[in-house]
C-alpha cells in the first residue's frame, strides 16, 4: 500500500523517534511510506481548547496534503490526532468551512487510521517481527480507547512481540490526566490523576510504560522522570519497531 504518514506536530517536533519507528515499521512490512512535506498539525489543541475558527487552515491543509487519491491510507502514531481527524475536522468544516473543505475532510476521514488499528484492521497483522526483551505495561489512551475504539488491538500487537514480558496495568482504562490544555488549566487535578496512574504503572514493576500517544506519554513520562522512578515511557511504535537485528537500546531511566 501507499501510506501517507502523518507525523503529528508533537511527534515531528518533540518525539521524532516514535515517528521514525512508525515509518521504519511500515517500510519493514513492505509498504511505501510517503511524507507529504507540507503537513503540520491537525488542530486538535485548538478545537479542544474551544477555538474552531483558528484551525480552519490547519484542517484544510491536512485535507490538501493527504487527499491525493494515490495515498491509500493515512496513518499516524496517535489516537487523539486520528480522533481529531475523524471526529472534529467535520465539525470545524461544517461550521466555518466551505463545500470544498467539507468534501476534502470527508475524503481523508474515511482513510485515516491510528497505527494499531491500521496494522490489525487494514493490514491484518499482529506479528510484525518485533523483538523487545523487557517488562512492559500498556496504558490505553482515552481517545484510542473511547473515541476510536481500538480495543485490545495494541495489546494483541504487543503480545506477539518476541521476548516481551507484558504486565497488566491496574485500572488501565482510567485517564492519565493529560487532556491537552487541561493539564495546564487544571494542573493540580491533572497531577492528582497522574499520581494514581504512576502508582499503578510502578506496581507492575515494568521497565517501560507504553501507549499509542506521545502526548499522554509526555505527561506520564514527565511525572515518572520527576520522581526518579526508574521506569520510562516509550511509544508503542518504538517497541514494534525494535527487532533482533536493530533492537531498541533501552537505557535505564534515572533514579
Amino acid at each position: 500500500m501507499r501510506i501517507g504518514l502523518f507525523a503529528t506536530c508533537l511527534g515531528d517536533t518533540l518525539f521524532p523517534e516514535a515517528v521514525r519507528s512508525t515509518a521504519v515499521l511500515l517500510a519493514r512490512l513492505g509498504h511505501e511510506v510517503v511524507f507529504p512535506p507540507d503537513q503540520t498539525c491537525c488542530g486538535q489543541m485548538h478545537v479542544n481548547t474551544g477555538y474552531q475558527r483558528e484551525p480552519v487552515p490547519l484542517v484544510r491543509n491536512f485535507a490538501d496534503q493527504f487527499g491525493d487519491a494515490s495515498i491509500d491510507a493515512v496513518v499516524m502514531p496517535s489516537g487523539s490526532c486520528a480522533g481529531s481527524v475523524r471526529h472534529q475536522h467535520e465539525i470545524v468544516a461544517e461550521r466555518y468551512g466551505d463545500a470544498v473543505l467539507r468534501a476534502g475532510v470527508a475524503t481523508v476521514k474515511a482513510k485515516t487510521y491510528e497505527l494499531s488499528e491500521f496494522l490489525v484492521d487494514v493490514l491484518g497483522v499482529t506479528q510484525v517481527g518485533a523483538y523487545f526483551p523487557h517488562r512492559v505495561t500498556y496504558h490505553p489512551t482515552c481517545h484510542s480507547l473511547r473515541m476510536l475504539r481500538v480495543g485490545d488491538k495494541p495489546l494483541r500487537l504487543l503480545r506477539a512481540v518476541e521476548g516481551i514480558d507484558l504486565a497488566e496495568l491496574p485500572e488501565a482504562d482510567s485517564c492519565c490526566g493529560f487532556g491537552g490544555t487541561f493539564a495546564v488549566k487544571n494542573a493540580e487535578t491533572s497531577t492528582a490523576m497522574l499520581q494514581d496512574k504512576m502508582r499503578h504503572v510502578l506496581s507492575t514493576g515494568a521497565a517501560v510504560c507504553t501507549a499509542g500517544d506521545s502526548s499522554c506519554l509526555m505527561h506520564i513520562g514527565g511525572g515518572l522522570s520527576r520522581i526518579r522512578s526508574g521506569t520510562r515511557t516509550l511509544h508503542l511504535a518504538q517497541i514494534l519497531g525494535s527487532t533482533r537485528t536493530a533492537p531498541y537500546a533501552l537505557m535505564e531511566a534515572a533514579r
Binding site: 507525523a7 506536530c9 515531528d12 517536533t13 518533540l14 521524532p16 523517534e17 521514525r20 515509518a23 521504519v24 515499521l25 517500510a27 519493514r28 512490512l29 513492505g30 511524507f35 512535506p37 507540507d38 503540520t40 498539525c41 488542530g43 485548538h46 479542544n48 481548547t49 474551544g50 477555538y51 474552531q52 483558528e54 487552515p57 490547519l58 465539525i91 517481527g129 482515552c142 481517545h143 480507547l145 473511547r146 482510567s174 485517564c175 493529560f178 487532556g179 491537552g180 490544555t181 487541561f182 493539564a183 495546564v184 488549566k185 487544571n186 494542573a187 493540580e188 487535578t189 497531577t191 492528582a192 490523576m193 509526555m218 505527561h219 513520562g221 514527565g222 522522570s225 520527576r226 537485528t245
Partner: protein, 516 residues
C-alpha cells in the same frame, strides 16, 4: 453586541444571583482546596469505585442494555422535540385528576409559588423528599427566610442539612462525609439524641429514623421533586431507596411537587425503559427499593391537595441550543460522576452547582449561563474535564458529554474578547498553517538544545507561567536535536527506510521458504 431588529430574543437563563447554579470561585481554585482534603479523596475514591463495579455488573448482565440505552435516548430526544405539547398534556391530565398545575419561569417564581401554597395550609414546617430541582432553586433557604422550616428526610440530605453543608453528589449528597463526622453532626444537631451514640452505621440510621418518624407523623405539608412525569396519564414518579420519600408522599395532607420541565415523558409505557435504566446506572441495583407513583388526588387515600410546579429556570434556553439541548435528556442517575476521574479527585463542591461532575459541567452553564459577569465561575466548568470520554460510555441515555464540553468551550471563546490565550492560539495557528514558518520554528527548537536548554540531562524542570502548574510535577524533555522531517530528508533517514524494507522483504522470503 446589539441584537438586530427582528431577531427573536434568546430565552432567559436562570437569573443571576438566585439559586444554586453558580459557585463563587472558578473550578481550578475551588479544586485546589478540595484536592488537599485527603479524607474527601479517600471517601470519593472508595465510594465511586464501589458504585462503578456494581454498575458494570448489573448493566453487563442485560443482553439488551445497549438497546435500552438507545431507547432511552430516543424517548428523551422525542420528548425534547415536542416538549410544549407534552407539558400541556401533562397539565391537562393532572388537572383532570384533581391536581393543580403551576408554571414557574424561574427559581424565584417557583420559590414564591411554593411558599404561597405552604402558607395557605397554615403550616410553618414542611417535610421534603430528596429533590435536585428544589436544591437548584434554593427552596430551603427561601422557606427559612419566610419563616417556614423545611426538614430534609433523605438520610444523606438530612446529614447535609444538619451540618449546614452543601450536597456534593447527585445521588449520595453526603459522600464527602465519613461516619465519625456524621456521628458528630447528629450529636450536635439532633435534639434529644442519645449522647452515647457511636459511629456504627445502623445506630446512626436509627438515630435519624427516630428523629424523622416524628416529623412524618406531625407535618401536614410535603415538598418533593419528580423523576418522571407522564404526559399521557398525569402520573408523577419518585424513585428512592429509603422509604422516607414514600412517607412524605403519602402521609401529609398537602403535597407540592417541583418538577423541571424536562422530566416529562410521553407515555406510561416509557417507564418500562427508564425504571430499568435509572437504578442500574445510578445505585448499581437491578431495581430501586421504592417506586412511588401518584396521579392527581385519590379521594380518601394520600394527600388530598396536590400541586405540581413546572420549573423552567433556563431549560428553555438550553432547549434553544441545537447541541446543548441534549443535556436535558439527563435522568440524574449520576453514573457520569462515578466514572469521572476529575470528579473523583476534585469532588462535587468544586463545581459550585447543584449539578456536579460531567453532566453538571454541561448543564449548569446552559441553565445559568457562563457569561453573566466578568470572569463568571461557570465559564471554567466546560474546561473541568480531560475529555476522557468515560461519561459518554456510562450515560444511560447516551448523552455525548465530551462533544458538548468542546462545544461549550467554543461558545466561551466566541463570547470572550481578546485574551492572552486567544492570541497564543492565533499565533500557534499562524505558525502551523505555514509549513515554512513551522519548519523554521522546529529548527529553532532543535537549536535550543544545542545552546544548552535542558542542561546535561536534557530535561527542563521549571517552566514559566502559564505552564508552571505543568512543571510543578512533570519534567519536560528538551527538544530533540533533529525533527522527524529533517531526519527523513537526510541520507540517514533514507538509508534506514531502505534497510527496513530490505529486512522485511528478506524475512517474508524466509517465511515463504519455510512454508514450502
Amino acid at each position: 453586541m446589539s441584537t438586530f431588529l427582528g431577531m427573536p430574543a434568546a430565552p432567559p437563563r436562570s437569573p443571576y444571583g438566585t439559586g444554586n447554579l453558580r459557585g463563587d470561585r472558578k473550578f481550578p481554585e475551588a479544586a485546589h482546596d478540595e484536592l488537599r482534603n485527603e479524607q474527601l479523596r479517600r471517601n470519593l475514591g472508595r465510594a465511586t469505585r464501589t458504585i462503578r463495579t456494581k454498575r458494570l455488573h448489573v448493566t453487563g448482565e442485560l443482553p439488551d442494555w445497549e438497546r435500552l440505552r438507545d431507547a432511552g435516548s430516543a424517548i428523551k430526544t422525542d420528548t425534547m422535540n415536542r416538549l410544549p405539547e407534552l407539558l400541556e398534556q401533562l397539565e391537562q391530565k393532572v388537572t383532570d385528576r384533581g391536581g393543580t398545575v403551576h408554571w414557574a419561569r424561574d427559581g424565584v417564581e417557583a420559590n414564591e409559588i411554593v411558599t404561597r401554597l405552604i402558607r395557605a395550609t397554615g403550616s410553618s414546617e414542611v417535610i421534603k423528599v430528596k429533590s435536585m430541582a428544589t436544591q437548584e432553586i434554593g427552596l430551603n433557604e427561601h422557606l427559612e427566610a419566610a419563616g417556614i422550616t423545611p426538614y430534609e428526610t433523605d438520610l444523606a440530605e438530612l446529614i447535609v442539612q444538619l451540618a449546614d453543608d452543601k450536597p456534593s453528589h447527585i445521588l449520595v449528597p453526603a459522600i464527602h462525609r465519613n461516619r465519625d463526622e456524621i456521628r458528630q453532626i447528629f450529636l450536635d444537631e439532633i435534639p434529644g439524641v442519645d449522647p452515647d451514640l457511636d459511629n456504627v452505621p445502623a445506630h446512626l440510621a436509627a438515630a435519624a429514623r427516630a428523629y424523622l418518624r416524628e416529623k412524618f407523623m406531625t407535618t401536614k405539608v410535603a415538598v418533593s421533586g419528580a423523576n418522571f412525569g407522564i404526559a399521557e396519564t398525569g402520573t408523577l414518579t419518585v424513585v428512592e431507596s429509603e422509604g422516607n420519600g414514600r412517607m412524605c408522599l403519602t402521609l401529609p395532607e398537602t403535597l407540592i411537587t417541583v418538577m423541571g420541565i424536562e422530566k416529562v415523558l410521553p407515555r406510561y409505557q416509557d417507564l418500562e425503559v427508564f425504571l430499568q435504566l435509572l437504578p442500574r446506572s445510578s445505585t448499581g441495583e437491578r431495581m430501586n427499593p421504592y417506586t412511588s407513583m401518584w396521579t392527581g388526588v385519590t379521594p380518601g387515600d394520600g394527600p388530598q391537595d396536590f400541586h405540581l410546579v413546572l420549573l423552567d429556570n433556563g431549560r428553555t434556553a438550553a432547549l434553544a441550543d441545537t447541541i446543548g439541548r441534549e443535556a436535558l435528556n439527563c435522568i440524574r442517575c449520576s453514573a457520569c460522576l462515578n466514572v469521572c476521574p476529575v470528579y473523583e479527585r476534585a469532588g462535587g463542591h468544586a463545581y459550585g452547582s447543584t449539578y456536579p461532575g460531567p453532566i453538571g459541567a454541561v448543564l449548569t452553564p446552559q441553565l445559568a449561563g457562563m457569561h453573566a459577569v466578568k470572569d463568571d465561575p461557570n465559564s471554567s466548568l466546560p474546561y473541568a474535564s480531560s475529555l476522557c470520554g468515560a461519561c459518554f460510555d456510562a450515560c444511560p441515555v447516551k448523552i455525548d458529554i465530551p462533544s458538548m464540553l468542546v462545544e461549550l468551550r467554543h461558545q466561551h471563546t466566541e463570547q470572550t474578547g481578546t485574551t492572552a490565550e486567544k492570541l497564543a492560539m492565533k499565533a500557534a495557528a499562524t505558525v502551523m498553517k505555514s509549513p515554512r514558518i513551522y519548519t523554521a520554528v522546529q529548527k529553532a527548537a532543535s537549536f535550543s538544545r544545542s545552546v544548552g536548554v535542558g542542561g546535561r540531562d536534557r530535561t527542563v524542570s521549571r517552566l514559566p507561567a502559564p505552564f508552571d502548574g505543568w512543571s510543578d510535577s512533570r519534567d519536560t524533555a528538551a527538544p530533540p536535536g533533529q525533527s522527524f522531517r529533517s531526519w527523513l530528508a537526510s541520507a540517514e533517514g533514507a538509508a534506514a527506510l531502505r534497510a527496513a524494507a530490505e529486512e522485511g522483504a528478506a524475512r517474508r522470503a524466509g517465511d515463504h521458504q519455510e512454508e514450502q
